[in-house]
């Protein structure tokens, strides 16, 4: 990975929250680097701070200590070169598919015509053509997540963040969407260069990622990084696959 440039770094980051009971330390001493053209997965038990970390990478949360830097510059707020996809899709039920995607473009200086054109382009990319006027309630989980992807891609970020994107989907749809997101990531015509995905399924992480960051809680910290140098497409039944799954599993337990 070293021939690629560093795109994002998390330096000495810690984050605590004030609760009624006192001070809760969610993350401590996180030091991570992310590079161009890599697919990174973050795994760990629930409550270990993965989502908090993702929000800090996004710029939505300010770290209590340390800082996040994007291409060398420290983040002062929301990082507009990142976009995020959510487990529960995060769509607005009163907007159509097209309107949901256009909403993400609102704060970018685009005219209505430009915004619509961009939205249409990414609708096409994720296969939502024909669904533009549909409302979220008419869509299955898989379709809703496609809307989530299109919305995230439409702002043409360099980094795509995903918080358990496939956890609310049935197994077959999840299989299908994993393939498609890998295709999108590998597409040279799209600006997306780095993907950071949170998952609680180790197999999913090993199937998709170049590198798996293993975290644990109390307080949230990085245990180890495991590189997965296997060629894609990866075979879940192969010995090597099993080996990595086992290695990561042991790190967590």
């Amino acid at each position: 990975m070293n021939e690629f440039e560093k795109i994002l770094s998390v330096e000495n980051v810690g984050r605590s929250f004030k609760t009624k009971a006192g001070n809760f330390i969610a993350l401590e001493n996180i030091n991570l680097d992310f590079f161009e053209e890599e697919f990174v997965a973050i795994v760990g038990p629930s409550g270990c701070g993965k989502s908090t970390l993702l929000k800090i990478i996004n710029g939505m949360l300010k770290p209590s200590t340390g800082k996040t830097s994007f291409r060398g510059k420290a983040l002062g707020g929301i990082n507009l070169e990142c976009s995020m996809v959510y487990q529960n899709f995060g769509l607005l039920p009163w907007l159509s598919v097209l309107e949901n995607i256009e909403l993400g473009l609102l704060s970018r200086e685009l005219s209505n015509a430009q915004a619509q054109k961009k939205a249409a382009h990414y609708i096409d990319k994720v296969g939502l053509d024909g669904h533009e006027e549909a409302y979220p309630r008419e869509l299955s989980g898989g379709m809703k997540q496609r809307v989530g992807f299109a919305r995230a891609l439409a702002i043409e970020p360099e980094i795509l963040l995903m918080d358990e994107p496939f956890s609310s989907l049935d197994p077959l749809t999840a299989i299908n969407l994993r393939e498609e997101i890998l295709d999108i990531w590998e597409d040279p015509n799209l600006r997306i260069t780095t993907v950071i995905m949170i998952t609680h399924q180790i197999e999913e992480a090993v199937e998709m990622a170049d590198r798996v960051i293993v975290m644990d809680g109390s307080p949230g910290h990085v245990v180890k990084e495991v590189k997965i140098p296997l060629e894609r497409p990866r075979n879940r039944k192969s010995k090597e696959f099993d080996h990595y799954v086992g290695e990561i599993f042991e790190l967590i337990t």
Binding site: G130, H131, E133, R146, L172, T173
Partner: protein
């Protein structure tokens, strides 16, 4: 699977499966080298047999798989579906959709209308008459879902009409 042999112009009802699910099924069969037993798929994927059978029925209706006995085998079109990029997938899907009787009947019904549109209620009534043993609302949902995917049909909930998607 089985065709009702009582009449020769029998319309098949649509199984309640989504396109993403169906594509996922094709991927899985491909991973197994293009062929597998349906019951071992169910246990491997940890899916209810019921729900898997619905997806299998859908894939078969599209001609993406064959189901001799308990096997599921990927057809050449099915193989093509998972290997091509998105727009070709949609084209293939559209071609296969045209072959499904219910869609042909809906197309006919729409074309016979002045503006080539039908309100949801009107279409539901027609569907119920063609498929008296099925719940029309469920058929409608799958019909629109697949129709939108193939860019064959469109449905505007706000204006309440179904129409033929000309591209």
């Amino acid at each position: 699977m089985d065709h009702d042999s009582s009449s020769n112009k029998e319309i098949q009802s649509l199984p309640a499966a989504g396109i993403s699910e169906t594509l996922g099924l094709l991927e899985v069969i491909d991973d197994h080298g293009g062929e597998e037993k349906s019951y071992s798929l169910a246990s491997e994927l940890n899916i209810e047999t019921d729900s898997l059978l619905t997806t299998i029925k859908a894939a078969e209706m599209f001609g993406f798989i064959d189901t001799p006995g308990r096997d599921v085998i990927l057809t050449p079109i099915g193989k093509q579906m998972i290997e091509t990029e998105m727009n070709t997938k949609k084209q293939l899907l559209l071609e296969q959709l045209r072959k499904i009787e219910l869609f042909a009947k809906v197309k006919e019904a729409l074309e016979s209308q002045e503006e080539e549109r039908l309100s949801r209620d009107d279409l539901l009534k027609m569907i119920q008459s063609w498929l008296p043993n099925e719940k029309a609302e469920d058929q409608f949902e799958t019909l629109i879902n697949w129709g939108r995917w193939g860019e064959f049909l469109g449905y505007s909930q706000d204006d309440d009409y179904v129409y033929l998607d000309q591209g």
